[in-house]
Symmetry: C2
Subunit: 392 residues, 2 copies
């Protein structure tokens, strides 16, 4: 039978990273391709105990259907969790989502009609480009500098394209690791107001800071109308539990709720209750410093290996936190084309092109340092640097 | 700020049932409005123990990101679970979803462009009408008889509308409780082939049978190309865990996977692992008979109360299983209009109109019997029957 798929779905391929994950299942391959937190960082026994305790005690309600906007005790626990990030929100001003990425999909459902423009950083989180494609939004890239988007280019593109949404990952951006400066955080809100654009501030990495002072969320400079703030506990508690939170103006929140009713009714309820307890019992505060110390060591090991094994022509970012380092190779080296050669040498990364909305970036790549220990980082980087050295 | 929501989202209101849930939070109100399994049916201690055991043992992998198509051991456990229903599927022929309802949303993402026709039963599951609205699909209702859709009307509408999808709940349908006959199950597949339509067979209730013999799934009469089968463990293990499964032809499955990557990356991983163990350890088989016995008693109590307290002009379905009884009141009684009067008498139901895609059904209502004990069923039905008696 010839299926009559929606026209735009006939050309969309899978998320590039998730396809690569399948390739690098082989444990001999040192993978810098993921965006996963270190599995040793999970508080698995505490989480196991909390699941048991909560289900034994109130399994009747936790195994039953729940509210679309989220489990109330988790919303209560999210208030101080968000306040720490400079995000003021009441229980009624947020919705629990099935991972921070779901916020972006729900925002597209609420706002996007085919052809609507969404401004994104260039490069940006590739899953967002995938989401935009499924909604037939038109992504337009805004140039980036080391301290975040180029404001002149941003204003020019707001004026020219009248975008509905500006999508930003201002802190330890995926894929570059860059952080937007304080001045630019204020400036993007002012531009959003001037041009009537809603900003999605996607902020899943901000608790992973290894040096320098935390900056307030873009949301803190808003008047309550222009910034939708989304974050998750995937990087500090567990990504497999798929729990995030979105803070939005009431009118937008109502649309997100209507959209979520259609998507999955509500987020897994036992997981919501467990996350509430993990936050309330201070388990993150207790464990995170050691995890950050280890990630910091891994990031430095990778930066050091870059200096040691890679040709000088390769440029890299110098993040203050997060999970990623971004490489720019000399023009002419296509990181997608050489990927099989890297895998042959037992090392994997993510080619940079899928992070660009305009088909460029062939000479870039994203490296993750959090999921490998320093011995494997050194070994993998030696192999990768060797390969690139031969090509330069 | 005036938000530029997508045009079609400006007119969609929330799912009627979820709005009613908010109204009937008061425990004094006897609610026949939900579609919830009985909370006492949950194997909460077994589930608590399994969560603890699995997370203690392999929390590193269960708290990490997982595959979009699902946790492999759950797929393995789903093979015999599906075979019991007459659905032959390999691990590669299915995808785990965040509740059976997600299958329908993903199917819409894969197939629907604005204005595309989807045939539904008349009445049909109201959440599906909500999903179709968010995708701007055009639902067209097919007349129902006591043994399922009217085949002549179905063929007529397939011919006239060239629908992409036919959505069916053939067993203990929501909202009517009706079951499609064996002959019609075969016939709808033949019509789907003839007119190039994909059938979604949504089958979450089939394990809740109180009398008669189980019928094979529509999927069992397919040649592997025309039927997408979706079910969940919500009614027999836990709805709050949001775990379902969809079986589809490979080409469709690829599109569903691409769509799910955008929606929620993957379904909550600890929940998937726990459901696999609940299935593997035979906990459902051990507990379900007693649950079914109780539901059967409740259904009979409700049918008996209908005879005792309701005027003879009220017609009702006589289901063989499931969670619902469907009432048709005399023309002129608007069940939405009288809903506040029912709530005043401490009883709630779901007005029938939202289950119709064509704005009709004002004189119908759906009653759930599984969530109330027989004492409350008798008391609530006396109150509701009294109200309707006054109006007839």
């Amino acid at each position: 039978m010839e299926y009559r798929f929606a026209t735009h779905m006939t050309t969309i391929t899978g998320n590039a990273i998730r396809e690569i994950f399948k390739l690098v299942g082989n444990p001999e391959i040192i993978s810098f391709a993921g965006g996963m937190p270190s599995a040793e960082s999970f508080a698995k026994h505490e989480i196991a105990d909390i699941y048991k305790e909560l289900l034994d005690e109130k399994g009747e309600s936790l195994l039953q259907y729940g509210a679309t906007d989220g489990y109330y005790p988790l919303k209560v626990a999210m208030v101080p969790f968000l306040a720490d990030k400079g995000v003021t929100a009441t229980e009624d001003g947020m919705m629990i989502v099935s991972g921070s990425q779901q916020s972006i999909d729900l925002m597209c459902r609420a706002f996007i009609e085919p052809g609507d423009v969404v401004l994104v950083e260039r490069p940006t989180y590739l899953a967002v480009l995938h989401i935009l494609a499924t909604h037939q939004a038109k992504p337009v890239g805004v140039e980036m500098q080391d301290d975040g988007v180029d404001l002149a280019d941003l204003e020019e593109k707001m004026r020219a394209h009248r975008p509905k949404i500006l999508y930003l990952v201002p802190t330890f951006q995926n894929p570059t690791g860059r952080t937007m400066s304080l001045e630019k955080r204020k400036a993007v809100v002012a531009l959003a107001k001037k041009y009537g654009v809603v900003i999605i501030e996607d902020d899943p990495y901000r608790d992973l800071r290894y040096r320098g002072e935390a900056l307030p969320a873009i949301h803190s400079f808003d008047d309550g109308a222009h910034v939708v703030y989304s974050t998750s506990v995937s990087k500090i508690i567990s990504p497999g539990m798929r729990v995030g939170v979105v803070v939005a103006p009431p009118e937008i929140l109502r649309k997100l709720n209507i959209a979520k009713q259609a998507v999955d009714v509500h987020t897994n309820l036992p997981a919501q209750a467990v996350i509430a307890e993990v936050l309330n019992r201070g388990i993150v505060e207790k464990r995170l410093p050691a995890v950050l110390e280890e990630y910091k060591v891994r990031m430095h090991a990778m930066l050091e290996a870059l200096g040691k094994y890679f040709p000088q022509e390769v440029k890299c970012t110098q993040p203050d936190g997060g999970l990623f380092i971004w490489l720019e190779l000399p023009e002419g080296i296509d990181t997608t084309a050489i990927f099989p050669q890297a895998v042959e040498r037992n090392v994997a990364y993510v080619p940079g092109a899928p992070f660009f909305c305009d088909g460029t970036g062939q000479n870039t790549m994203r490296l993750n340092f959090s999921a490998s220990n320093i011995e494997r980082i050194d070994r993998g980087m030696a192999a990768l640097g060797g390969l690139i050295g031969e090509l330069v």
